[in-house]
């Protein structure tokens, strides 16, 4: 058993020595490297190499022709590069989704996103808040199907935002002058550009519209982040599976999907609460304007 008393430090049970602290260099490299927005892949591999080397591992295992090379190997120890290679090969399953890309790509060419957009347009939500909830659930279903997608440029900007403004206008919770004119020409799926003749630029400038925009982006994130773990084909589930495997614990991908259900449920319930409050706040803002 692992459990120790809180006073173990005083008992001198263990000491953190310099060698041990140096091992955290890799963690520090990942944290600093990613915080500085350096190339992620490079940061991760440098952290791996540094961690291995400061822990006293040789570059290569002591085998084959490497054992004749000075400095690069140590007898009886696996090399960092060997460990990296083995781990990368063992974790190929994490990048297995590549094999699903041709089918999804071809489906996109034949209107997968357009048809998704058609479905979104059919949503008849009475209020802004309800529209966000329906959209969030729609994104959870995407995640379940294993579709990886950044919905901000493809759905939120061209569809959900104008539809939200339309819903706000219909329910009287956004000022007319602000909400008008944003639903007319904006139903193509072209990604939003910097110059934006008919949509966001024109309708900015009021607090209620700013709130609607924030809610649009949030609904996308909520649905995307929590819904994606409902599919074993998604990166999160496969990452957890692989990392736990590396730690000597075999978990089942089915169990991972199963145990994420309470979190998905909570993510939807909380969103319902937040978006209903948004509806009330928008209503009050419109009251105040009148």
């Amino acid at each position: 058993m692992f459990i120790r008393g809180g006073n173990s430090f005083l008992q001198g049970d263990f000491k953190l020595n310099i060698q041990d602290l140096l091992k955290l260099a890799g963690v520090a490299i990942v944290v600093v490297g990613l915080a500085l927005r350096l190339r992620t892949t490079l940061v991760v591999v440098v952290a791996a190499l540094v961690t291995g080397l400061v822990a006293g591992l040789p570059l290569f295992s002591h085998e084959g022709f490497f054992q004749y090379l000075p400095y690069l190997t140590k007898p009886g120890q696996a090399g960092v590069i060997n460990t990296l290679g083995k781990a990368f090969a063992d974790n190929r399953l994490m990048t297995l989704f590549i094999i699903t890309l041709p089918a999804i790509g071809l489906a996109e060419r034949f209107g997968l996103q357009e048809q998704s957009a058609n479905l979104i347009r059919k949503i008849r939500a009475a209020t802004v808040g309800r529209l966000q909830i329906v959209y969030q659930i729609f994104r959870v279903l995407h995640g379940m199907m294993g579709i990886r997608l950044n919905g901000h440029p493809s759905f939120v900007r061209p569809l959900i935002f104008p539809m939200s403004v339309g819903a706000a206008r219909a329910s009287g919770s956004a000022p007319r002058a602000v909400a008008s004119g944003s639903l007319t020409t904006d139903d193509t799926l072209a990604p939003a550009r910097g110059t934006d003749p008919d949509g966001a630029a024109q309708t900015s400038g009021t607090d209620s519209v700013e709130k609607i925009k924030a809610a649009n982006a949030a609904a996308e994130n909520y649905g995307n982040f929590y819904g994606q773990n409902l599919s074993p084909a998604q990166a999160g589930v496969l990452l957890v599976y692989g990392v736990m495997q590396g730690l000597g614990l075999t978990v089942s991908v089915g169990d991972l999907v199963w145990y994420t259900i309470p979190v998905v449920a909570a993510s939807i319930v909380l969103a319902i609460i937040q978006f209903r409050r948004l509806d009330r706040a928008l209503g009050k803002m419109a009251e105040a304007k009148r």
Binding site: F2, V44, L106, R109, E210, Y259
Partner: protein, 316 residues
């Protein structure tokens, strides 16, 4: 015996490797890609690792990984332009309607069917699901070709378009899991675990769960990426201080820890793609407007994670 050989994980890896090889050849030939040599080499190398990773000596795979990362590190992986006409896509969408979802749905259905079949045959259902994912991808290709009456070249080219638009960062989960393995080999987890034990008594489950979720979220906020935080927290806190000593179901604890990190993603400007770029896309006055809206939601859901994990361990 023969069937077992065909329907194995290694076969699926080889199929994925072949797909990558085709992507690589197409990338080499793509004149619209300013980095076609680097891109082609990247997908080719990854394809080789997929096909031969099971049999190649580990030092060779390790060197190939360094080569992959060097290509990306020096900005040699780019993307070409495969364009389709939006009007044409809309026309197809009208013609095919909801049937376009069929090929996409084939993937989870086949995955699930394989898992059930493997369980039925008394084999590892987990392995079945992963193998099913691979064959689901292949089945989806066939269904999609029949449905759209398209040709294999277009199929592969569209796959490559999607792959290239995602970029080299696609291999990140695989790299992060490898980093986790090296952390474990080097004993990084032990150092973190010992550090935490100096502050928190090893028998106080609630405080350990709190530290686990807090660490996960703080790392995610700083790095902007919960996937990068997970291997560190799993090796340093979750497994040595919670799962092993308390005999906790590892799947349950691990997936809840991962999504505890998602609260961090909702709160950090470091996750620019999700929080800052949308604010710009929507021309928001306040570039942190999305984060401010998400903040109360993220904090509440985070607290829920702490309580859920603690309760599920308590009642099991």
């Amino acid at each position: 015996m023969m069937i077992g050989y065909v329907f194995s994980l290694e076969t699926v890896y080889v199929l994925t490797g072949v797909t990558l090889l085709i992507f690589a050849l197409m990338a080499f030939a793509d004149r619209t890609n300013p980095r076609r040599l680097g891109s082609g080499l990247f997908w080719l190398t990854l394809g080789i690792i997929f096909m031969f990773g099971g049999v190649a000596p580990h030092w060779l795979t390790g060197l190939l990984v360094l080569f992959l990362v060097a290509l990306d590190g020096f900005g040699q992986v780019g993307c070409g332009r495969v364009e389709t006409d939006p009007v044409e896509r809309a026309g197809h969408a009208r013609r095919l309607g909801n049937r376009i979802f069929i090929p996409v749905l084939v993937i989870p259905i086949v995955t699930f069917a394989f898992a059930l079949l493997f369980r039925r045959l008394g084999m590892d259902a987990n392995r079945g699901a992963l193998i099913g994912l691979g064959f689901g991808g292949v089945a989806a290709m066939i269904v999609c070709l029949i449905l759209t009456r398209s040709d294999p070249l277009t199929l592969m080219n569209e796959g490559r378009r999607l792959k290239e638009s995602m970029g080299a960062v696609n291999i990140l989960p695989q790299l992060l899991a490898s980093l986790g393995v090296i952390f474990t080999t080097a004993g990084v987890g032990k150092v973190i675990a010992q550090g935490i034990q100096q502050v928190i008594p090893g028998n106080n489950l609630f405080l350990l769960v709190l530290a686990n979720c807090l660490g996960m979220t703080l790392f995610t906020i700083i790095m902007g990426n919960s996937f990068a935080a997970f291997p560190v927290i799993a090796t340093g806190v979750l497994v040595p201080l919670i799962i092993t000593p308390f005999g906790v179901n590892p799947a349950m604890a691990a997936i809840i820890t991962l999504t505890a990190g998602s609260s961090g993603t909702l709160m950090t400007p470091m996750a620019a793609n999700f929080n800052i770029v949308p604010a710009a896309l929507l021309n928001m006055r306040d570039q942190y407007g999305v984060i401010k809206f998400q903040l109360p939601y993220a904090l509440t859901l985070w607290s829920f994670h702490v309580l859920l994990l603690w309760l599920l361990i308590k009642i099991s």
